[in-house]
């Protein structure tokens, strides 16, 4: 039997309509799970102290891997021995997080036997996070997981577990095969994921369209975002049905009674003003369209992305540490994404080489680009500068030139100058 702690504060969190993690964990504790009981106990203490009670880090792991495990020890182990060690294992999730219950149970069984029985489904990067194991259990857990066909994800200065949106599996907007790209990158770069050898972490996220449901643009060093370069497909009959109020606006996202006002909701909100509705016909000047998805989002039955699909690649998103948060910057406006994605992978490897060579310790690629310049980066990955890469050209006049760009070079002789210009 697990020793239950008094948790008056946490008990307040069993109330209210939203599901309660306390209720859930408490049940497990009551069923005899000591880690669960002690976790609640220690958490209650944190609520009282208004300070967390975990020690700093702890270098643990599984042999052969440089990451995948985050070490964690309690700083009040005497009070809560069940969580004295509380390491997490990051288990690489299946792309877009579909689960066959049969397969998932493989993991749950191992975790019930050897771990705390608690998980994060999922970590912010995308892994299944097995939350709380003792050091001695790490190797056995790993061995059993791999036996069943599961592997660890990334941590440390390595490639992190790639993640993607649901994509073609259940979304009509998907312009690329997000899951296959995610899987392919994961498999191709197993070594980069498991043996940290870079200046810092590196993340891929793959979104099927510019709606960015896996937040790739904000949270991955390299975002692969589906797009198209031909015309938006229009079904004029469906347009008429929207206008006539036969189809609810926005797929019902604004409520079942939301009738589409084609002018107010579509034409006027198109950010480029490239849509026209005349004589009952919707038309789009696709040359001016920036594929912002708005019209497609609000009229999903009438409008569809084009057929010549591929991806936009944005590089450099990251959280604030050290130099401030960044979003991804558009580096490749359009690239075809077809299995085995060689052209894209070539780009990736060039990018990594440059980062590896130039990056300082704990410098994300986005920060390196800031430090060395966007121009230096695109040169390193063999791209040509195009205006699509920037929102606007520079406004400061501090332009660098290389010596070979300037007639006559940089070397000059002051005496030549003085021949024409007295001191």
């Amino acid at each position: 039997m697990a020793k239950m702690h008094d948790t008056p504060m946490l008990d307040e969190l069993t109330k209210g309509p939203w599901p309660s993690f306390v209720t859930d964990i408490k049940k497990a504790a009551e069923a005899g799970n000591e880690a669960c009981a002690d976790l609640l106990g220690q958490l209650e203490l944190s609520y009282k102290d208004k300070e967390g009670h975990w020690k700093h880090g702890g270098i643990v792991g599984v042999l052969g891997y440089g990451g995948g495990v985050i070490g964690r020890y309690s700083d009040v182990p005497d009070l809560f021995p069940g969580v004295e060690h509380f390491h997490t294992l990051r288990v690489n999730q299946p792309a877009s997080k579909f689960y066959k219950t049969e397969r998932l149970r493989e993991v749950l069984d191992i975790w019930n036997q050897r771990g705390s029985g608690m998980l994060n489904m999922h970590g912010s990067t995308g892994d299944m996070v097995l939350l709380g194991a003792f050091t001695e259990q790490l190797e056995p857990i790993f061995a059993e997981l791999t036996q069943k066909g599961w592997d660890l994800g990334g941590s440390g200065s390595a490639l992190r577990t790639p993640a993607c949106c649901v994509g073609k599996a259940r979304c009509e907007f998907a312009c690329i095969d997000t899951q296959d790209i995610c899987y392919s990158l994961t498999q191709e770069y197993q070594d980069e994921m498991h043996r940290p050898a870079w200046p810092y972490k590196f993340k891929f996220k793959i979104d099927g369209c510019p709606n960015c449901c896996v937040a790739s643009l904000a949270r991955s060093d390299c975002a692969i975002i589906g797009t198209w370069r031909d015309d938006i497909r229009i079904d004029q009959e469906a347009v008429a049905a929207y206008v006539g109020g036969e189809i609810v606006a926005h797929g019902g996202a604004n409520g079942p009674d939301s009738k589409l006002d084609i002018k107010a909701d579509v034409i006027d909100l198109c950010p480029t003003g490239c849509m026209f509705y005349e004589d009952g016909k919707l038309s789009i000047n696709n040359a001016e369209c920036t594929r912002c998805m708005h019209c497609i989002n609000v009229m999903p039955r009438a409008l569809r992305p084009g057929l010549d699909t591929g991806a936009s690649i944005l590089v450099g998103a990251k959280a604030p540490i050290l130099e401030g948060a960044q979003m991804g910057s558009l580096i490749i406006p359009f690239i075809k994404m077809e299995e085995p994605y060689d052209e894209f992978k070539e780009f990736v490897e060039k990018m990594w080489d440059w980062w590896d060579e130039n990056g300082k310790n704990r410098e994300r690629i986005g920060e390196l680009i800031q430090r060395m310049g966007l121009s230096a980066f695109i040169t390193a990955v063999d791209l040509k500068p195009i205006p699509q890469m920037v929102k606007e050209p520079r406004s400061n006049p501090y332009i660098f030139y290389k010596e070979d760009e300037v007639e006559g070079g940089f070397e000059r002789d002051i005496s030549d100058y003085r021949k024409k210009h007295a001191r």
Binding site: E12, L13, K15, G16, P19, S20, F21, D24, I25, N33, L43, S46, K50, E51, G52, H53, W54, K55, H56, G57, L63, T88, P94, S96, K97, F98, Y99, E102, R105, L108, L119, M121, H122, S124, T146, G149, D151, V166, E172, Q179, Q187, D191, H194, N211, R219, G251, G252, A253, N254, G255, C292, M293, V298, P300, I321, L322, E323, G324, M327, R362
Partner: protein
């Protein structure tokens, strides 16, 4: 050892995605035509093959036990042929291909009680969050508890479509920002406000001094000898409590009951829909930690949501709204106080100043 290594299975990667798909997904992969949200939490996707799938999205605690996962598996076995998925925001989705199972599944979910339907459309979905006091070593706040308290209060918006647009709330328990809080409609961020307290007697043993010094973005850390110990000192005037020194050096903890608390940010977005992605901007610099239910934080968020709900135009995200009405109006309408802390003083600060006579009173 070498033997063990040799037998070891490594680098196999995750199971392949299509193993995890129900048949209907396999059959209709890439063939979806359109979708409808039938009611909050219930989506139907229609394929060009004529097939339909109903997805029931349920709010879930990200932090869950194997016991609870087993409950989910059981429901999936019974109603969905043994398959289900998680969304990118930690909701659970049951995907039904047989319409006759739809209503029974809904009933079963209602009976379960811990899997409320919702999170779709112009409402509030699950809060993306991080570890908090449940696991991490650097948090300024708890994560799961704050999320629970907030979602309880905003629950009506989880199960309805009555906002102008979707509102995405995220939480990160320290400036490392493991959630996408830098680009969320509303972000809850754990912040420290005291410089690290330094364990001079152990610092040199536990940390590399040069790396520790280099870790500080503001160069506030200098090497120093204290009582014969090789250690460091922090110039408190230059410290902005980012915690990066602590990440590199365990002898410099920041956590403090009085110093730590919550900052609220608003108006970020990730999607490229309509407007370009935006960073979240500071709304409230500091709210003390108020466990177990963080009432000030929760009420402030509710106020922001309500003002937005009443004032924004249809399809307008929080950031689009604030930008249209002007940030001066955002502060006026929400009643949030504007302070020195709202004025940027970091690297791109000058780009946020108002270089125009255009403003509202």
């Amino acid at each position: 050892m070498a033997e063990f290594q040799a037998n070891k299975i490594t680098d196999i990667g995750p199971p392949k995605y299509d193993e995890m798909w129900p048949q209907v997904i396999k059959d209709n992969y890439g063939k979806w035509l359109y979708h409808d949200i039938l009611e909050p939490g219930v989506l139907v996707h229609v394929s060009e093959t004529g097939a339909k799938v109903w997805s029931l999205r349920c709010g879930a605690t990200r932090l869950m036990t194997t016991m609870f996962l087993e409950q989910i598996c059981k429901l999936a076995d019974e109603y969905c042929g043994g398959f289900f998925r998680f969304t990118t925001r930690n909701n659970v989705e049951f995907i039904v291909s047989d319409e006759s199972k739809l209503e029974p599944l809904k009933k079963a979910l209602a009976a379960n009680g811990a899997l409320p339907l919702g999170g779709t459309g112009a409402g509030i979905t699950n809060i993306v969050h991080t570890q908090g006091w449940v696991h991490c070593h650097t948090p300024a706040i708890d994560a799961s508890g704050v999320v629970k308290a907030t979602m309880d209060e905003l629950f009506e918006y989880f199960g309805s479509h009555k906002l102008p647009a979707q509102v995405r709330i995220s939480l990160a328990c320290c400036l490392n920002m493991c959630g996408a809080v830098h680009c969320s409609d509303i972000s809850i961020l754990g912040v420290h406000r005291k410089p690290p307290v330094i364990e001079h007697s152990h610092l040199d043993k536990m940390c590399e001094i040069p790396t520790t010094i280099a870790a500080c973005p503001t160069a506030a850390i200098k090497p120093s000898k204290i009582d014969d110990y090789k250690s460091v000192v922090v110039n408190a005037d230059r410290c902005m409590f980012c915690g990066n020194c602590y990440t590199m050096c365990p002898a410099m903890p920041l956590a403090d009951a009085d110093g730590d608390g919550i900052a609220l940010w608003v108006g970020g977005k990730v999607s490229n829909a309509k407007s370009m992605p935006m960073f979240s901007k500071l709304a409230v610099p500091f709210i003390p930690n108020e466990p177990p239910r963080w009432p000030t934080t929760v009420q402030t968020i509710k106020k922001i949501v309500e003002v937005y709900a009443g004032d924004a135009m249809k399809y307008e995200r929080v950031g689009e709204w604030a930008q249209r009405i002007g940030w001066e109006k955002f502060f006026e309408k929400t009643g949030i106080e504007f302070s020195h802390h709202h004025i940027d003083d970091y690297r791109f600060a000058a780009t946020t100043w108002r270089t125009s006579t255009q403003f509202k009173w």
